[in-house]
């Protein structure tokens, strides 16, 4: 095991960035810089098309300056910084932000008056473990293994159109500087997916099995072990019927439990939404929102997956927040500016899509706690319902606590037994407190999944992971 080394590029420009903080400090009462240098690659292997790119969702190299003056926060993002020309960059930033103030003055815009962020001293260097760095891997061997996986899928699957396999790995390096804070972190995360696509009698179907982790290329071993379940899933989709719409007992697989955690209360307690009055959760702190079996954690340190960092994009140390404890909503997660406005503490959840994007309160790892039941006991307890597996997408609704989850497959349960009948796809909807309040069993195991991305509304995509145990609940399916 080696440590993912911090970027030599960032180390090289750091003196210039420190100088920039100093120069801007004479014009503003708070200055921070986030500088990023994250490298990686992505590979997509299918039977009819293959692609290699030296980019992933999180590869980037650039800087963003945040400044505060007269109650207003402003930011300037750039990627052409020359450390010996800090004075020129400082002048460019002042000019650009002053030009924006002219527009604000001309339009008579008022400022959301906010205090300056505290700048407590912090010195931190965090380099997390990794076996094989993306920049050091044998890419020929990697492509051969991915091709073999795709070929095996084609050989073993039925009615296959393609078996696509993707793999990507990113080595993140971030530097955060203020007058008093000097924070450096580097880590590697990887993710991979198998997407078998099949067609039978004019009906297309696809499925998706993934692996992810704060790991390097060694993650591929895990992905290779998921081919059989991916092929079984697509075969199930092909033979699936449409569900009869209605309210059913459901058992959610850990992947679907994670989707519920993310959409139901993950977004619902992002506290930048509290500032805007866009989240019902603000009125429910200390109140019951789920059954006694519902306990939910959120934080970069509560699991080790794709977004388990040491500090967030505002230089706040990562944490582990218990959002719901035995059904009672305890607190939310918060970026630094929202924390100032709400008079609470930042939780290490201030994240940017990349250096050129704004910080919002964002999720990291969002996970339901385990219970004590077994999956077999849970199935045996259902008279008529579905075991739900495979997630396609979800959408948050923090204001009204509606929930939409599109789930790939439902396996019918009648009188405590799986009947073999499959339905697909399934739209699960409902009122969040009803759904979480109906949780009546939770399994003793749990899994975490980090292969997807999360948007804020329809933009600002970041990496997140979520998961939990099998949960038994009641929901509307259509």
């Amino acid at each position: 095991m080696l440590k993912a080394p911090f970027s030599a590029y960032l180390t090289g420009i750091e003196p210039g960035l420190r100088r920039l903080v100093e120069l801007l400090g004479s014009h503003y009462d708070y200055v921070s810089i986030l500088a990023t240098d994250s490298v990686g690659f992505s590979m997509g292997i299918g039977q009819r098309a293959k692609a290699v790119k030296n980019e992933t969702m999180t590869t980037e190299r650039g800087q963003v300056v945040r400044v505060h003056r007269n109650g207003l926060y402003s930011e300037y993002a750039f990627n052409a910084f020359e450390p010996e020309k800090s004075e020129e960059k400082a002048a460019e930033i002042l000019k650009a932000l002053d030009a924006q103030l002219m527009v604000l003055k001309a339009t008579g815009s008022q400022v959301y008056d906010t205090a300056a962020l505290p700048d407590e001293p912090c010195e931190l260097t965090a380099e997390f473990d990794c076996e094989i760095l993306p920049e050091n891997c044998d890419q020929k061997q990697l492509i051969e293994r991915l091709t073999a996986l795709s070929n095996a899928g084609m050989a073993r699957g039925k009615d296959m159109l393609d078996c696509r396999v993707s793999f990507q790995s990113t080595h993140i390096s971030k530097l955060f500087l203020t007058a008093n804070r000097h924070m450096r972190q580097s880590y590697v995360y990887s993710e991979g997916a198998i997407l078998p696509i099949a067609m039978r009698e004019g009906k297309n179907a696809l499925s998706y099995e993934s692996a992810s982790g704060r790991k390097g290329i060694e993650l591929l071993d895990e992905l290779e072990g998921k081919l059989d379940s991916a092929l079984t899933a697509v075969e199930d989709c092909l033979r699936a019927d449409h569900i009869e719409p209605g309210e059913y007992d459901i058992i959610t697989s850990p992947e679907v439990s994670g989707l519920i955690a993310h959409e139901a209360f993950g977004h619902g307690v992002e506290m930048d939404m509290f500032v805007k009055g866009r989240a019902l959760g603000a009125d429910y702190i200390g109140k019951r929102v789920g059954s006694d079996l519902v306990t939910m954690h959120e934080g970069a340190t509560c699991a080790v997956d794709v977004t388990s960092y040491a500090f967030d994009d505002e230089g706040t140390l990562a944490g582990d927040v218990i959002e719901i404890e035995n059904g009672i909503l305890r607190t939310g997660i918060c970026d630094a500016l929202s924390a100032l406005r709400l008079g609470t503490a930042a939780t290490g959840n201030g994240k940017r899509e990349n250096y050129a994007h704004k910080v919002y309160t964002r999720m990291t790892n969002t996970i339901f706690d385990s219970g004590h039941a077994t999956l077999e006991e849970m199935i045996a307890s259902v008279q008529h319902g579905y075991l739900l597996r495979g997630m396609q997408s979800g959408m948050e609704d923090p204001k009204h606590w509606g929930i939409q989850c599109i789930i790939e497959r439902g396996y019918e349960i009648v009188d405590g037994k799986l009947t073999g009948k499959v339905v697909s796809p399934i739209v699960m909807t409902g009122y969040v407190p009803d759904l979480l309040g109906s949780v009546s069993m939770a399994s003793g195991d749990r899994e975490v999944f980090g292969s997807g991305g999360c948007g804020k509304g329809y933009k600002e995509w970041v990496k997140v992971s979520d998961g939990g145990p099998y949960l038994k609940a009641r929901a509307h399916l259509g």
Binding site: G46, V52, R61, Y76, L104, H400, V427, H476, G478
Partner: protein, 428 residues
């Protein structure tokens, strides 16, 4: 750096290469209840390089892409190109030829001042007809000006300049302590003041309806009427299935000259890729591979006419002059709006997230605000979901002659999908 990079690429031994150099100037303003939360500016340059390697037997052409930072040294650029060459040799795609320069009418693009665009957005938001009970919660303004140059080993050297903007708006309505929100997101070239004003005034008006909803009845099968941006996803399903990538990979079973609509009774659809749509954010003169963009009919009265897409996949389909389309005009044998608003139907004006799966054709969405017309009365409803499959709906789909533009899509104002499954909503 660009001259040095081109020298490195010419001397690299690559069988082909492409450089896309994009400079984006962006201004952003974030407001919470008309108070400025934050202002942001960015000046970012991205130089992407794609390198091609032909196999020794010339049966395969591989490629790899990477980015050269604007501050990269010559040594770093050389190192990146070397790595790309090694990677490209590992990628075994069937060989195809790279695009050659094409004659196209001169297009100077659209120069804009991002400060003025941002100012226009701010002013529109200040002029909306808010009331004590229906108002604007928050909005985020993004105004960009893009200058993109594409250079290739085959001699293409073209530049597109265009504006690209977006505004996200959250509307509230409240009554007796109960408050709801509606979310809107508009992408465009610059600020279309009139469109934005009209659309947001309408959103403010309907927001009060969201306060008075009852759970959507479990309707079983019913006709779904769409008169909002969700309909774009319906027509995008047709557009996706006419892409060369889907066809070549066996994911679209449509054939040129054959009907793309299964079943009878629907309106015959025509979809054209168009070079220019007023105030679209996709009005570039050239596509991402340097091909000049022009008007092209993809589907004519329900019959597949032309594939569209990247050089790689259109070459596989033996098409020489294709391009990656950006703007689309949907028309055909439409009907009067009144004819589409008859009988029993559910009109949904707000979904949490309406989706049409390009591969399977499955449609799904949770209803946040809908109007159930039972033939006599109208109920304002919320909750529950719609589901169905475009393969079954394509032949019975009906639409209006009147159109409405959503950024790069000009589509019928009203779309009616018969026989969609409607799941009932839960009591809140």
């Amino acid at each position: 750096m660009m001259d040095a990079l081109l020298d490195i690429l010419r001397a690299s031994g690559a069988d082909g290469w492409e450089v896309t150099d994009t400079a984006t100037e962006k201004w952003e303003f974030y407001f919470i209840r008309h108070r400025l939360d934050q202002n942001r500016a960015s000046q970012v340059q991205k130089t992407k390089v794609k390198v091609y390697r032909l196999s020794e037997d010339q049966q395969f052409l591989g490629s790899a892409t990477g980015e050269i930072a604007p501050t990269a040294t010559r040594a770093e650029a050389e190192q990146t190109v070397t790595r790309l060459l090694e990677q490209a040799a590992l990628v075994k795609n069937p060989a195809y030829t790279l695009r050659a320069p094409a004659q196209a009418p001169a297009d100077a693009g659209e120069q804009v001042d991002v400060a003025q665009v941002a100012r226009d957005f701010i002013q529109v938001m200040q002029e909306l007809p808010e009331t004590e009970t229906e108002d604007i919660n928050s909005y985020e303004i993004f105004a960009s000006f893009v200058n993109q140059r594409f250079i290739s080993s085959t001699g293409i050297d073209v530049t597109s300049v265009y504006p690209s903007s977006m505004i996200e708006v959250v509307v509230n309505a409240r009554k007796e302590g109960h408050e709801i929100e509606l979310y809107r997101n508009y992408t465009s070239g610059t600020c279309d003041r009139q469109m934005l004003k009209e659309n947001l005034a309408e959103t403010l008006r309907i927001s009060r309806d969201r306060l008075h909803t009852v759970p959507t009845p479990a309707l079983g099968k019913a006709d779904l009427v769409l008169s909002n941006a969700a309909a774009v996803d319906v027509y995008d399903w047709f557009i996706s299935r006419m892409s060369a990538a889907m066809k070549y990979q066996g994911l679209s079973d449509w054939e040129i000259g054959q009907s793309v609509c299964e079943g009878e009774g629907g309106s015959k659809l025509t979809i054209r890729a168009v070079k220019h749509l007023k105030n679209s954010s996709r009005n570039a003169a050239y596509d991402a591979e340097g091909a000049p963009i022009r008007d092209l009919t993809l589907i004519d009265h329900g019959v597949a006419k032309n594939w569209w897409g990247s050089r790689q996949f259109t070459q596989y389909l033996k098409i020489e002059d294709a391009f990656i389309a950006g703007n689309f005009d949907v028309s055909g044998e439409g009907e009067a709006e009144e004819a589409l608003r008859t009988g029993k139907y559910l009109e949904v004006l707000d979904f949490s997230d309406f989706q049409v799966d390009a591969l399977t054709g499955d449609i799904a969405g949770e209803i946040r605000l809908g109007y159930w017309h039972d033939g006599e009365q109208v109920q304002i409803v919320s909750g529950g979901s719609v589901s169905g499959n475009m393969r079954k709906l394509s032949g019975v789909l009906r639409f209006s002659t009147a159109t409405r533009q959503y950024d790069q899509y000009l589509i019928p104002h009203i779309t009616r999908l018969p026989g969609v499954t409607i799941t009932g909503g839960a009591e809140e």
